[in-house]
Symmetry: D2
Subunit: 337 residues, 4 copies
Amino acid sequence: MIVVMKAGAKPSEIEAVKEELIQLGLSVDESRGAAQTVLGVVGDAGLVDKERMAIRPGVERVVRVQEPFKRANRKFHPDDTIVKAGSLEVGGKALAVMAGPCSVESEEQVTAIAKAVKAAGASALRGGAFKPRTSPYAFQGMGIEGIRLLVEAKKATGLPIVSEMMSPHHLELFEDLVDVIQIGARNMQNFDLLKEVGASGKPVLLKRGLSSTIEEWLMSAEYIMAQGDSKVILCERGIRTFETYTRNTLDLSAIPVVKRLSHLPVIVDPSHASGQAALVEPLAMAAIAAGADGLIIEVHNNPACALCDGAQSINPDQFASLMERLSAVASVMGRTL
Amino acid sequence: MIVVMKAGAKPSEIEAVKEELIQLGLSVDESRGAAQTVLGVVGDAGLVDKERMAIRPGVERVVRVQEPFKRANRKFHPDDTIVKAGSLEVGGKALAVMAGPCSVESEEQVTAIAKAVKAAGASALRGGAFKPRTSPYAFQGMGIEGIRLLVEAKKATGLPIVSEMMSPHHLELFEDLVDVIQIGARNMQNFDLLKEVGASGKPVLLKRGLSSTIEEWLMSAEYIMAQGDSKVILCERGIRTFETYTRNTLDLSAIPVVKRLSHLPVIVDPSHASGQAALVEPLAMAAIAAGADGLIIEVHNNPACALCDGAQSINPDQFASLMERLSAVASVMGRTL
Amino acid sequence: MIVVMKAGAKPSEIEAVKEELIQLGLSVDESRGAAQTVLGVVGDAGLVDKERMAIRPGVERVVRVQEPFKRANRKFHPDDTIVKAGSLEVGGKALAVMAGPCSVESEEQVTAIAKAVKAAGASALRGGAFKPRTSPYAFQGMGIEGIRLLVEAKKATGLPIVSEMMSPHHLELFEDLVDVIQIGARNMQNFDLLKEVGASGKPVLLKRGLSSTIEEWLMSAEYIMAQGDSKVILCERGIRTFETYTRNTLDLSAIPVVKRLSHLPVIVDPSHASGQAALVEPLAMAAIAAGADGLIIEVHNNPACALCDGAQSINPDQFASLMERLSAVASVMGRTL
Amino acid sequence: MIVVMKAGAKPSEIEAVKEELIQLGLSVDESRGAAQTVLGVVGDAGLVDKERMAIRPGVERVVRVQEPFKRANRKFHPDDTIVKAGSLEVGGKALAVMAGPCSVESEEQVTAIAKAVKAAGASALRGGAFKPRTSPYAFQGMGIEGIRLLVEAKKATGLPIVSEMMSPHHLELFEDLVDVIQIGARNMQNFDLLKEVGASGKPVLLKRGLSSTIEEWLMSAEYIMAQGDSKVILCERGIRTFETYTRNTLDLSAIPVVKRLSHLPVIVDPSHASGQAALVEPLAMAAIAAGADGLIIEVHNNPACALCDGAQSINPDQFASLMERLSAVASVMGRTL
């Protein structure tokens, strides 16, 4: 962090700022020019409230030089992190593809889909039991029973389970039965939930919030990691813009940006981003070409009847065909599927 | 809801759609034109998944005619709702002004500020004990001790307390000690929290999410009200746009829009919206002129030392002067302060 | 501008950067700390390409300290600018209200509206002759004939004319017949048009672009002023966000921000911002309470028949009633109408 | 277009709406249900002002069923359009890659770059002679002399020239010397410029505006095509969002959406979208995988010295390496480079 003092700042003002920084346990590297004094802060600048410092008497501007995230930062952890959950590995040479229905609806449904996506090469089964719906009158998911059905499908296929948790009341249930706990976009800054999930030590799939910056997203990963849990998978799922043809705008530039800033693996959800089955394939292909470590895709045996989000689901045949095309792009990228 | 069938839709496709609607307990008003058939849905269209219906064979487009919120809808509740919490009334002729520090820091601090804002005419004391901070390393609030200090300040002034709750684990504490439970912008779609707060029956201050549409905001109010709790105060606090001079973009057009769509009271937070103390007065004045039912304003006795958000706090003198100016605008609007 | 060198920057890298700055005619104030060197740039930092400098070897970061606009900057011109065009004055104690039809349709129409808004206290007549329409098949305005009809209405009422110019081919026509040349939101960064209008020396009403930052808006004013024309009126008309209840999101925080950054007058267009007649009054009231210097409002004698934008026009009776309410807010603000 | 009448609409209101539609030369397909009447509009619904119709007495809602663009619409022109300009073909099996400096700086510079990109497989030379800069004090391009230097580079390499035109005053110059006229993002809704360029019949590269919807972008193509010019190449170059790590957010979902809605070829500009050289390769790869017909990429022999936008330029060696990687993705997509 650098504190730029005003051209006419008084020595007493400069001293006051230095003193405050030193009291926070930081060192100050003072650079006096003919016109202006600049204070370089050495130490953990995260301790300083930038906005509050900016209104101190004599301060012209405060510039943060380093990213505010540490455990998620590639600078302090240069090697790629590989998150493992049972047979699933995310972040290595092999791409991870999580597939399954938006909502768990019945044992037949989820087991049939699980078998189909497994046959096509999926590495994990996704399925919603607790659903965040905009309307309180919409189907809210099967709840605990839904988790039980996912476990049945896991028994039948061996696929690890990824499912969204919305309430800390369900933590024990998820710890026992689910392989990767998904934190949805709407809960990306539900900090209490992040802390509790982080303390559990379980692998976490952290979706980017609809209007979250990349930095905020990494700071939410940091919340989880600050509890000691380093098994975080980031998931880009589209941000909110003025465009209305697609449900959200998939921000694929976030992939190379995150790969540079962080060592955490990052995957893409083309289904929720676009809201349209016809866009899943081109966006999935583009995600892999942009360097993503994997995908999470909605697959339903009868999309027109899906209890939620049917419009964006592809069927198992389309998924199998997509996997073949993805395999070719993966190979260009030096990855395997 | 209106389902527009394609020009060449087969009778069997039309029948299938009608049957599905009827099975949901709805009536269908079929309008056959020379070229096209249009189905008008009579009943609770909220039961229909619009996106799923849109991909049914033969369907051209599905148009929702009514708003998806009911309990929050002015159509079904034409009179303004007045939310009461102790001596506080929001939504009546008198404007409500909630004021206080971003964070509770000490008994001296919060009681001194409470006395000052009370003297200037504030109708409630706001103060944060549990703070949603982007960074896990930033001050997270005093927690339960902070609530206790707010209660002391309430004893000293009689001002009802407004404070943010972030976790369902604290519900009992808030039910016992706080007058209005604030749900922050980041938790606006933390649906489990909304349900629990709604079930408590306490007055709720629901902030608009940073990238939430007005409709989503009202749907979150609906989540609370669906539990039987009708004491919801809406709070506009700025939305996220590309502009960077202000922290967020205060959307004052949301005030008249919400007043038309809903019977719930709506107030404005000029402090968080702008992030700058100098903008609090002009935005507060504009909010009242746009028809807001009140304001929530950060006041600190020493903004430069505030443990969070100091840059946007005004001091008690500035608050007193603002209240005088607001009083003049209130009078133009036929309101009192 | 401040150039922060990397911790391990070589002396040769530091010298190379200094030399480049000096060659641009700037002075460099070097501040060497124990860990890091910071270069303060004295002189016109606008000459430096910040992004290019940032990729020079050894450079950590480049921080612009001053705003890039000069002629529009309040720092170099502390007093408010009052723009005069005939009897119209914008930026003084009296608020300016420009009113009239979106499109000029006939002599009867425009003269009748002009008389009505004049009677209600309007200070200028607005009317579109050249219309920027999203569709090439929509009514494009009456063109030159429309300008002629505005001149007739001016003769009948004495109201100065404000009208939008879209092509440099019409500059002579506008110089001769129009009092204030309006540059529309879509042309805010049509830099060639800005230069030509600026060279004419005419008063210019510069609308903010739909996705323009406040800084870009002021830079567009700077384009006009760099040609020697200081008669620029800024107009906030809503920015593009994800919200769909209103056509655009009126950014009223831009008013106090612009007043602080610049000496130019700033007015608000509540009609285009909201796209709805019912929102014109609350937003107009709020604009004045936020400190705007005036308004530009669409008024039509028969909004349901207006050739464009009828949905957002109010009729002359509504305008007269609005002017009375505005007068009361103006008085609170120490302004007159 | 469908006009939904209110449940209690009077017969006279229904008749008035029908009459208005018929007077516009349209047929009306009336569908009377028990509760509600719906009017289906047969004919060119583009003639109806949707917002104005929506405020007619008795009207509940107006729903546009068809896209407002015609000549650009794939429905009326199912086959892909291939735009040709000299040896350049955009929209066929072979991908088109336009490469060159942001700004033309000297004959040596532009010819050297042209030779290098030609050797690496580029199909056209891009280079700016007239530059749209946010600041009036920034380098505005070499102007006419810049065009002359591009012509020299074309002579030396045979590469067709793509360059941006900002003012109608330069139309003759561009008609004579440039192969593809580029319309920049800031001029996407400079409708007068679109009309003049369209009337010239030259191939046009139309960049998407920073805050333009896909529909507005296609409507701007329609402006050009309405003049008889069907040689339009669309170019996605990033939209403006709240994210600040990248200059803009590249919207790759726009590629498959545009390919479905329109027959026009669409290319991607990863350089301007991201503003960072390091992001050019991953975004270029992703663009091709998403189905783009080509790319436009900034290449400079000395990015750190580029007179504008150096930070986003790659050098000729990086370009050659990128072309090899692109070739592999192209092959997966069934395209050639």
